[in-house]
Structures are given as structure tokens and as C-alpha cells.
């Protein structure tokens, strides 16, 4: 109930429209409800042979119909505006709120789940608020008016004819309640089949390589059978409820024929009255079903609303008090003092008591195996997460005491497989223009040139205006990486974070990226999560991490002496990788 009242709060800015559409719906309904009475009157006039009265009644019917037309048109326009307004507001609010939530939230939620909140749940709420309430009023009022009219006409017969009403409403609302989960389960199973199909299309080479076509077909068949089975459940419901809902009102009609007919023969009811009764019961059929439907709809809307409020009620974090000072000027010195970090829900800390002091402009290589804490460490600097112990400071300021936007504008991250937006190449490179200022093509081109991306961008179908991801326009890993480097260059940050994971780039690309990185690193504090000795060689300082702790720390030569782990890494694998990466004769393949 609380959820229901909170949901109504979304209507507040549209109070007048919402009330207006209810009033209009009610008035239009009066017009509809008047029609059977008028018809009955006409029949009586005919029985009496009164042509003049008949003409008058026909005229009134036409006028009533015209009035109803005007009211219905107005009601639809007003209600439509309210419904769409509520939808736009809710969606904007949800989106803005999502953008403020902490990274831990996104780690714990599947994108699919969030999408389902923002689409399915949101639409069920807005449909109820926009239309459900109107239908509720309209149907309820129709039933009420018809009931009053019938009871006034003939109390006994009226009550008899109304007997099916509560049953129809109950059954209809029950149908709406049970059919929903059944249909959702169908959707769920279809989603499973989709995942199955996706896997088989993406993994077709594996299936063929192992000659497992028959086995995969069998799996797919059972997925399809599961859809069939569940569809049959839904079909059985539909097959039972739909005819039942059509059948019950017929009983009301039969009662009117049987008893009303006798009353006409007795002379206690006019033929016109009889006809009016008959038409009223017919008129009730639609609203009875609608009322049940809306009742079911409102239950769903409340459930959906509860799920939406779950997100909207979550506090934005890390919470940022307004009016924090901007990051002080500096060369990009980064200090970590006794930093520890544990992911929400994790038992083991990812970082323990890490202390480092990196002077501005230095390049640091972070070396260590998977799970050693390299990636976690660099995420604390732009405050994607807040350290659970100790302090992280940039140019002397604790990062939690400065405006996060000003901090993040001074930090850029380039990963091996960077995320690009499905927008033009230009827009992706100019992405850092957060202040809203237009970034000129010349600036974008300069950044692209420095990032060694110019040549391949020129070869794209629309050059810098090519939309990434459209019409199968995909870029290779090396190309994406260089666009990300250009994006970082344009942001001109004090601090650069490079995640240089293992990759099997071909020789030319490897060379180009190395050059681009050298350009990007000049004059900035750079953290490199390094996997290659050639990248490690670029660093002034190397930090060896294991299980969240700094194991060793120093220059390449110092570490060869001091750290057996580092010596092993250096000796065994790293240089080997380079073989075959040196043959810059091959023209670059543009990944179209």
C-alpha cells in the first residue's frame, strides 16, 4: 500500500491532467450508459406508434453520441499526455540515479537485471498510472451506472441480472494474475533458447570441429520443447478463462429473457424496458472484464514499483558533499599510505597496507599474477572505489576531500580492450570534452595522429564520422586501443593508467601502439599494469605485488637482485613473446 501511494506521487506534477482525464472518462461514460435507456425509450415509442417522440429520441441519441465523441477524444489526449509525461519523468529519474550509484552496485547487479527494471517494470508502472486508473474509473462507473439504471427500472430483475458481475470481475482478475507468471516463464524459456542459439552460432567452429552437431541439436530440441510445454500451460489458461468470461454474461441474458419476458407478458415491464435491460447486460460485458484486468494490472504495478524503489532508494555513493574544493594544481604526485581494500562481500582483502610515493611525471610498472591486486590499486586513484583503510592522495590532497569530477578529469585510463561508445570516431575521441565545449576536428585529428590512429581512421568508410558498431563496423583490438589513447591524450590528464594485458597484436600494430603510448606517457605520472618486458622496460620504477601486498619495489636491475619472483618472470617468459612480432612489412588489415 505504501508503494502504491508512493507510485501515485509520480502523478503529482500532472494532477490537473490526471483528474481531468478521470472526469472526462466519467462524463463520457454517462453518455454510453444513456444509450440503452434511450434505445428502450425508442422501442416504447415505436410500440405506441408515436413517430414524433421517436424522432426526438433518435435526435437525442445522435447528440449524446456527439458529446461522447468530444469527451472521449479529450480524455484520450489528456490521459495520453499524462501517461507519457509520467513515463519520461520516471525514466529520466532512474537514469540519473543509476549514474550516481557506486561501482560496487554495478559489480553486484547483472546488466540484464537492471535493464529489465528500466524497461519491463517501468512500463508496467506507467501503464497503470497512465491508463489503468482511467480504465478503473471508467469500468467501475459504467457498472455502477448500469446497475443503478437497472435497479431503478426493475429492482428484482436488476439484481438478478447483476449476479454474474462479481464473478466475472473476480475471474478476470484471477486470470490476469495467473497468466502473468505463466507468460513470464514462457519469456524466460525463450531467453534460454536465445542464449542457446547464440552459443551455437558463436561456437559453430567448436561444434563442427568436434562433429557434435547431433548433440547440439538435441540440446536445442529440449530447449524448444520446454518452450512448447510452458506455452501449453499458458494456452490452457487462455482456453479456460476466455470462454468462461464470455459464458457468464450470457447467463445474465438468459435470466432477463426468462424472467423479464414473463414480466412483459404480465404487463409489469414494457417491451422497451425489456430491450433496455437486454442492452445493459450486453453493455456490462466489456467493463466487467476490464475491471478484472485493471485489478491484476495494479497488483503487478505495485510489485514493479517496489523493485524500482529498491534502486531509487539506494543512496548514491561514494557520497559527495556539495562544494568540495577542486583538485589542487600539481605535477601528478600520487601517495598511498597504508591502503587496504576489501570488495563488498569478499572475505579476503584485495589490498593490504600498501604504501607508495610516486613523484609527478614518473612511470611505474605494476607486476604480479592474476588476483595480485594490480587492477584494484589503480581503481582507487580516480575513486572508482574508496580505500577501506589508509589514504590515497594526489598532489597532496586526500582524494576523498576534493570534487571527484575535478579529480577524474586529471586521470585517464587506457585498457587493452577499451570500451568505446556506438557513436562516431570523432565523438569517441572528443569524449573528454565534458565541460560541454565543442572540440574541433583539428584537435581530434591532432590527438589521433599522436596516437598513431590517423591512418586507419582515414581508411574507414566515413573517416572520422564513421559510427562504430553500425552495420557491422567493428574495429580490431589494436584500433580500439589507439582510439582510447587518442581519447586520453585529448583529456590531457596528469595521471595515466595503462592496462597493457597480453595480446596477440601483429607486428606493425604492436610497434604503432608502443609509439602511441610513449607519446601519451610523456610528462605524466603513468601507472602500467605490465605483462611484457618491453613495457616494463619503459618504467622508472617497478612494483611487484602478490596477494594484495607489495613484495618488492625498485628499478629493473635492483629487482633482479632483490626479488626471486621478478627474476623468474624476467628470465622465463616475457622476452619470448616478442618473437614474430617484428616484421613491419605487412599492410595493416582494417577490421571491417
Amino acid at each position: 500500500m505504501r508503494t502504491f501511494i508512493r507510485l501515485l506521487g509520480f502523478l503529482r506534477p500532472y494532477r490537473r491532467g490526471a483528474i481531468g482525464s478521470l472526469v472526462l472518462a466519467a462524463l463520457a461514460m454517462v453518455g454510453t450508459a444513456a444509450l440503452p435507456a434511450l434505445t428502450g425509450r425508442a422501442i416504447d415509442d415505436i410500440s405506441r406508434g408515436d413517430k414524433g417522440a421517436l424522432r426526438l429520441v433518435a435526435l437525442i441519441i445522435v447528440l449524446a453520441a456527439l458529446a461522447r465523441l468530444a469527451l472521449s477524444v479529450a480524455r484520450r489526449l489528456v490521459a495520453g499526455r499524462v501517461s507519457l509525461g509520467v513515463e519520461v519523468d520516471m525514466r529520466d529519474q532512474l537514469y540519473a540515479h543509476l549514474l550516481e550509484l557506486d561501482m560496487g552496485f554495478f559489480d553486484s547487479q547483472q546488466t540484464g537485471q537492471l535493464m529489465s527494471r528500466a524497461t519491463v517494470d517501468l512500463s508496467s508502472v506507467r501503464f497503470f498510472l497512465g491508463y489503468g486508473l482511467v480504465f478503473l474509473t471508467q469500468s467501475g462507473l459504467t457498472i455502477l451506472l448500469a446497475a443503478v439504471a437497472m435497479i431503478v427500472l426493475q429492482p428484482g430483475l436488476g439484481l438478478l441480472a447483476l449476479i454474474p458481475v462479481p464473478f466475472v470481475v473476480l475471474i478476470s482478475s484471477r486470470y490476469s494474475r495467473v497468466s502473468r507468471p505463466a507468460l513470464q516463464e514462457v519469456q524466460q524459456r525463450i531467453a534460454e533458447l536465445t542464449a542457446d542459439a547464440e552459443e551455437n552460432v558463436s561456437g559453430v567452429r567448436v561444434v563442427k570441429a568436434f562433429a557434435r552437431e547431433a548433440h547440439q541439436l538435441g540440446r536445442f530440441r529440449s530447449s524448444a520443447q520446454r518452450i512448447f510445454d510452458q506455452n501449453l500451460v499458458a494456452t490452457r489458461q487462455r482456453a479456460l478463462y476466455n470462454p468462461l468470461l464470455g459464458f457468464l454474461p450470457q447467463l445474465g441474458l438468459a435470466v432477463i429473457l426468462l424472467i423479464g419476458g414473463r414480466k412483459v407478458i404480465d404487463g409489469t415491464l414494457t417491451t422497451g424496458g425489456f430491450a433496455a435491460f437486454y442492452t445493459y447486460v450486453l453493455m456490462l460485458v466489456g467493463p466487467m472484464r476490464m475491471l478484472g484486468l485493471v485489478l491484476g494490472m495494479s497488483q503487478r504495478a505495485v510489485a514493479s514499483g517496489a523493485r524500482l524503489f529498491e534502486i531509487l532508494d539506494r543512496e548514491p555513493a561514494p557520497s559527495v558533499p556539495a562544494g568540495l574544493p577542486a583538485l589542487p594544481a600539481g605535477a601528478g604526485r600520487v601517495e598511498l599510505r597504508g591502503v587496504g581494500f576489501t570488495f563488498a562481500g569478499a572475505r579476503e582483502p584485495s589490498l593490504r597496507d600498501v604504501s607508495l610515493d610516486i613523484p609527478g611525471g614518473a612511470t611505474v610498472a605494476l607486476v604480479g599474477g592474476t588476483g595480485s591486486g594490480k587492477s584494484t590499486l589503480v581503481q582507487l586513484i580516480p575513486r572508482l572505489y574508496d580505500a577501506t583503510a589508509g589514504t590515497v592522495s594526489v598532489d597532496g590532497a586526500d582524494v576523498t576531500t576534493v570534487d571527484p569530477d575535478s579529480l577524474r578529469r586529471e586521470i585517464a585510463v587506457v585498457t587493452e580492450d577499451p570500451f568505446l561508445f556506438s557513436d562516431t570516431v570523432h565523438a569517441n575521441i572528443a569524449y573528454a570534452g565534458a565541460g560541454g565545449e565543442e572540440i574541433s576536428r583539428a584537435d581530434v585529428e591532432l590527438a589521433a595522429r599522436r596516437a598513431q590512429a590517423e591512418a586507419f581512421i582515414r581508411q574507414l568508410p566515413d573517416g572520422y564520422d564513421t559510427v562504430i558498431g553500425e552495420r557491422g563496423m567493428t574495429l580490431s583490438g589494436g584500433q580500439r586501443q589507439r582510439i582510447a589513447i587518442a581519447r586520453a591524450l585529448l583529456a590531457d590528464p596528469r595521471i595515466l593508467i595503462l592496462d597493457d594485458a597480453t595480446s596477440s597484436l601483429d607486428a606493425t600494430t604492436e610497434q604503432l601502439i608502443k609509439e602511441a603510448l610513449r607519446e601519451a606517457m610523456a610528462g605524466r605520472t603513468t601507472f602500467v599494469i605490465a605483462h611484457r618486458l618491453s613495457t616494463i622496460a619503459l618504467a622508472d620504477e617497478i612494483v611487484v605485488l602478490e596477494r594484495g601486498e607489495v613484495l618488492a619495489h625498485g628499478s629493473h636491475d635492483e629487482l633482479l637482485q632483490a626479488s626471486p619472483l621478478y627474476a623468474e618472470i624476467a628470465a622465463k617468459g616475457l622476452p619470448d613473446q616478442v618473437f614474430l612480432n617484428r616484421k613491419p612489412t605487412e599492410p595493416e588489415v582494417v577490421g571491417l
Partner: protein, 597 residues
């Protein structure tokens, strides 16, 4: 205006090709003839029962109430109840049968497409987007589902109701019926025009909401980038714009509906007034009974509803037909690498002798630029061959021809003397293991994925294979060991771990011929040193083709083949090639220089 006409022509054409679709649909229905016939009978009965009340009401008034004959009245009430019961039962049967037959047909269609997709060669998948292929199996079938579930019943039910009502009205009173039919063209044309316009409007709303959803999805996937560049405000602005676009598109449909539906209501009321007036005057003159008049007005509702329902069906119908077109297009795609008739199974224990007999291969559409030219060589059983060359030299193409993912443009590829085109693909691939750069895993447990290579493998076999490759350590360290769920495409595992599972999967199949295409490039150094031994075990005694970046792997190969521009540039052992001071020697020299730097 010209654009509009062309658009109309396009829409008209979209309805052609009906013959193919109709034949295809009938063929799908054939296995369920019996139920289909029952379904049609139930539909007829249900429609007849739904049409009965107005004429019965007329009978009750004219024969029972007006003459004061309660006997007739009671009889009619019994008939009334009987018709209601028939309606209930027939509608139940019809709904159930439509659902059953429809879903069965859709299931058959899915399976047929899936089986057909499996028969298509790898080149089909290279030249078509995965998303589009998946959409055939999912979205297009869903569009048909809509048509089957709602469409079929509405199409037949509404048409029958319309015809039946017209007949009833005509029988009740021909003159009044003709008067009523006057609105038919008006309503029909208005409905059709409304549908035509609103189909566009609704398509626009679907597009707008799709781009809104896509934008949201993208923001959620890229939320780190948004946070890092502090661009929240800009994204909010863009989202608000898209949100407003969506509102505007929806507002158009609100306007259309606000004009159409109240309009139909008005028309219906006008007809009713007209009938009352005209029929009433006739009744006063004694030409028409009151019963006829009441029945007429009751029947009018049966006249308006089906027209609206039919016009609503138009959009669903179009979407369904478009989907059907795409589905049949897929089914009509000729499989290009089918087993030739009379293809033989390879003997179960191959020696593993591989021969390329003057092979040239060009990818479709790039005939003037062959990926392999005049390759002529023999690989002895049990030999390990390393393929060396830069990107685009033809290494991967070579490997694909061995697995017969493609057929050579000219020349022959032979295994133990059998031309690959003369043997069944299943028997070839059962003796061949392929491990690529991206190890693709299927959702399910680690054990399932390993046993994918040999379905009858016991847990013991799986464990042995994992141990042999050196994958046992990480697997046993996982929370559920071999039963750990790897997630979609194996996302719960790291790239290196996926690769280890893929090695194990290849090993357990005991292949005679093994193809490793950059299989170790995603494995990190620590892991690689660990699996080196496992790799040796994997290669031992099998014919193996290895494409690798690392010198250690290449050096160990019994023979190195250097490819350049699709041709064999040189071949021999590591020492021989170094001594020859050719292409391989140059590569080695460059590498040594850099490694020393």
C-alpha cells in the same frame, strides 16, 4: 509524393511471394492434419454459437413475449443456454488446438532452422552477422508466434462473425441490413487507412524505444568510462533528448487513437439511431416487428467489433509475413559443404598422414587475391609442424583447410590418401582436434565442457585428461571443482583457464590430427610454463600443426614451414633454417636483437 507512392508499392510487394509462404506453411501443418481439421470445426461451432443470441432474442420477443406464449419463451431460454454452453466448449477446444498446433509448428520451424544452420559451412557464418542469424531463430519466430496465437483465431473468427452477422441482419430484414451495410465501406476504408498510418507511427515508437534502451544498456556497460571521464551530465542530457523523442513518437499514436476509436464509437451510435428511426417508422407501419428491431441492434455489436479486430491484425500480419520471408530465405540457403553422396567414413584409426596437393584457396569475393597459392607438401604421421609467418601469410587458412572448414579452390587436401571431399565430415572431425586462440566454452560445468570432446567420457577420464594437460590444479582449486559453472561463453574463467579447458577438451577426444592456432597466446607466462609439459603430451604421437608466436614452441617442432604471402617460402628444422640464412633466420635475428635490447 513520389516517395510515398514508391513506399506504397514496396508495401504491396511485401505481400507478394505468398505462394511460397503458403506452401511452406501448409507443409508445416501437414503432420498435424487431424488436429487442424478439428480446430477448424471447433472454430465454426464457436462462431455459430457466438452469433446465436441475437436471433434467439428476436424469436423470444416475436414468438414468445409479444404473443404471450411462455412455452416458446422457455424453449428459447433453453436454446440460449445451450448455445452459451456450446460456445464455452467450442471456444475452449479451439483455443487449445490453435495453441497446440501453432506452437508445435513453431517448434518444428525452430528445429528445422537450427538443423539447417548446422549444415551450413563456416563461410556462411563468416559472411553473416551472428546477431542476424540468431534473430531468425528468435525474433522472427516470435513475430510468427504473435500471428499464430492471436492472428489465426482473429482472422477466421472475425471474418466468420462478420459474414455470419451480415447474413443474420439480411435475413432479419433486408432493407435495414442494406441501410446498415452503407457504413461498411466507410468503416472499412477508415480502418484500413488508420492501420496504414498507425503502422508507421508504431514502427517509429518501436525504433525510438529501442534506441532509448540501447543507450541505457550502453551506459550501463560503459559506466566506468562515464565515471572516469566525469561525463554524467552529458549522458543525462542525451538520454533526456532520446526520452523526449520517444515521447513525441508516442504522442502521434495517442493522437491517431484519439481520432479513430471514438470515431468508430460515434459511427456505431449513428447507425443505431438510424436503425431506430427508420426501422421504428417501419415498425409503426407494421412492416417490421419489434423483435426484429431489438435483435438488429443487438447484432450490430457483432458487426463493428470484427472490423476493428481485423484492422488491428494488419500490423501483426505484416510483421509475421516479413519474418516468414526471412525464415524461408534462410531455409532456402543451399548448404555449400555437404557430404557428397557416397562419401565414405574414414577408418577409425588414422595414421594421420596429411598431404596438400597443389592447393590454392581464395576467400569468396577475393578471388584475385588467394590466401594460399600452389601449396604442395606432405606431413608424415606423428610429425609436429610449426607454421611461421606474419599476419595474412595464410597460416590460419592452412589450418582451416585441414579441418575442411573450406574446400580448396583448386588442388586437393588428403588425409591418409583420402581426398577430404570424398569422406564424411563427421568421421574426419572426430579424429581431429582444433584449439584456437579464443577458447570458446559452452555454458555448463567444466566437466561438461571437457567431455564435449568425448561424450561417453567418465569423470575419471575427464580428471586424467585435465591432469595430463596440467589443468587439474586450477580446476580443483575452484569452489565446485569439475562441477563449477563456467558461465556464458566461459566468462567465469580467465582467458588462460578457458584455454586450458580447451586443451583438455581436445586431448580427451584422442585426435589423430591436432591443429593449434595461436592456442597459447592468451595464456599468461606462469601458466604457460606450467602447461608446457601437458602440451608436449598432447602433441606426442599425433600429427600436429602448430601456429604460435613463441620461439620455445616453434623450436621444439620437428619441422618449421615458413609461409609468405600464401606460399611456402622455406621449410626445415630450426637449425637447418638458421643455417640457410633465409626468411626464418632474419626473423630470428630481429627477435634476438630486440630481446637483448
Amino acid at each position: 509524393m513520389g516517395v510515398r507512392r514508391a513506399e506504397l508499392r514496396r508495401r504491396y510487394r511485401a505481400t507478394s511471394g505468398r505462394g511460397r509462404k503458403l506452401r511452406g506453411l501448409l507443409e508445416l501443418l501437414r503432420p498435424y492434419r487431424g488436429r487442424t481439421i478439428l480446430m477448424v470445426l471447433a472454430l465454426l461451432a464457436a462462431t455459430a454459437a457466438a452469433l446465436a443470441p441475437p436471433p434467439l432474442a428476436k424469436l423470444a420477443i416475436d414468438q414468445g413475449i409479444v404473443p404471450g406464449d411462455t412455452g416458446v419463451l422457455d424453449l428459447v431460454v433453453v436454446g440460449f443456454l445451450a448455445s452459451a454452453l456450446v460456445y464455452f466448449l467450442a471456444t475452449y477446444a479451439q483455443t487449445y488446438l490453435v495453441g497446440w498446433v501453432g506452437q508445435r509448428v513453431l517448434q518444428d520451424l525452430r528445429l528445422r532452422m537450427f538443423a539447417h544452420l548446422q549444415s551450413l559451412s563456416v563461410s556462411y557464418y563468416s559472411s553473416h552477422q551472428a546477431g542476424a542469424i540468431i534473430s531468425r531463430l528468435t525474433n522472427d519466430v516470435q513475430a510468427l508466434d504473435q500471428l499464430v496465437t492471436d492472428g489465426v483465431v482473429t482472422l477466421f473468427g472475425s471474418s466468420l462473425t462478420l459474414i455470419g452477422t451480415a447474413v443474420i441482419l439480411f435475413v432479419l430484414d433486408a432493407q435495414l441490413a442494406l441501410l446498415t451495410f452503407l457504413v461498411f465501406p466507410v468503416l472499412g476504408i477508415a480502418s484500413f487507412v488508420f492501420r496504414l498510418i498507425s503502422a508507421d507511427a508504431y514502427r517509429l515508437t518501436r525504433e525510438k524505444v529501442a534506441s532509448l534502451t540501447a543507450y541505457l544498456q550502453e551506459t550501463l556497460s560503459g559506466v566506468r568510462v562515464v565515471r572516469l571521464f566525469a561525463t554524467e551530465r552529458r549522458h543525462r542530457g542525451r538520454f533526456a533528448e532520446l526520452n523526449d523523442d520517444n515521447r513525441a513518437a508516442n504522442m502521434v499514436t495517442v493522437h491517431l487513437n484519439a481520432a479513430y476509436f471514438p470515431g468508430v464509437e460515434l459511427l456505431s451510435a449513428l447507425v443505431q439511431a438510424g436503425i431506430l428511426l427508420y426501422g421504428g417508422i417501419q415498425a409503426i407501419g407494421g412492416d417490421v416487428t419489434i423483435g426484429v428491431l431489438v435483435a438488429f441492434i443487438a447484432a450490430l455489436q457483432n458487426f463493428f467489433d470484427p472490423i476493428q479486430q481485423l484492422s488491428q491484425l494488419y500490423t501483426t500480419y505484416q510483421a509475421g509475413m516479413a519474418a516468414l520471408d526471412k525464415i524461408f530465405e534462410l531455409l532456402d540457403e543451399e548448404p555449400d559443404l555437404e557430404d557428397r553422396p557416397g562419401a565414405i567414413d574414414l577408418p577409425p584409426a588414422l595414421d594421420g598422414r596429411l598431404q596438400f596437393d597443389d592447393v590454392t584457396f581464395a576467400y569468396p569475393g577475393r578471388e584475385d587475391d588467394p590466401a594460399l597459392s600452389d601449396v604442395d607438401l606432405v606431413i608424415a604421421p606423428g610429425q609436429t609442424v610449426a607454421l611461421v609467418g606474419s599476419t595474412g601469410a595464410g597460416k590460419s587458412t592452412f589450418a582451416k583447410l585441414v579441418a575442411r572448414f573450406h574446400d580448396p579452390t583448386s588442388g586437393r587436401v588428403l588425409v591418409d590418401g583420402h581426398d577430404l571431399r570424398d569422406v564424411t565430415q563427421g568421421s574426419l572431425r572426430r579424429q581431429m582436434g582444433i584449439v584456437g586462440q579464443e577458447a570458446f566454452l559452452f555454458s555448463g560445468s567444466i566437466a561438461d565442457n571437457i567431455a564435449f570432446g568425448r561424450p561417453d567420457a567418465t569423470r575419471e577420464d575427464v580428471r586424467d585428461a585435465a591432469r595430463a594437460v596440467g589443468a587439474d590444479a586450477f580446476i580443483e582449486g575452484m569452489s565446485d571443482g569439475y562441477d563449477t559453472d563456467v558461465g556464458e561463453r566461459g566468462v567465469h574463467l580467465s582467458a588462460g583457464q578457458r584455454q586450458l579447458v580447451a586443451f583438455t577438451r581436445a586431448l580427451i577426444a584422442e585426435p589423430r590430427i591436432l591443429v593449434l592456432d595461436e592456442a597459447t597466446s592468451n595464456v599468461d607466462i606462469h601458466t604457460e610454463t606450467r602447461i608446457e609439459e601437458g602440451l608436449q603430451r598432447l602433441l606426442a604421437g599425433r600429427t600436429a600443426i602448430v601456429i604460435a608466436h613463441r620461439l620455445s614452441t616453434i623450436q621444439r617442432a620437428g619441422r618449421i614451414i615458413v609461409l609468405e604471402g600464401g606460399r611456402v617460402a622455406e621449410q626445415g628444422t630450426h637449425d637447418e633454417l638458421i643455417a640457410a640464412r633465409g626468411a626464418y633466420w632474419r626473423l630470428y635475428r630481429d627477435w634476438a636483437e630486440q630481446a637483448a635490447a
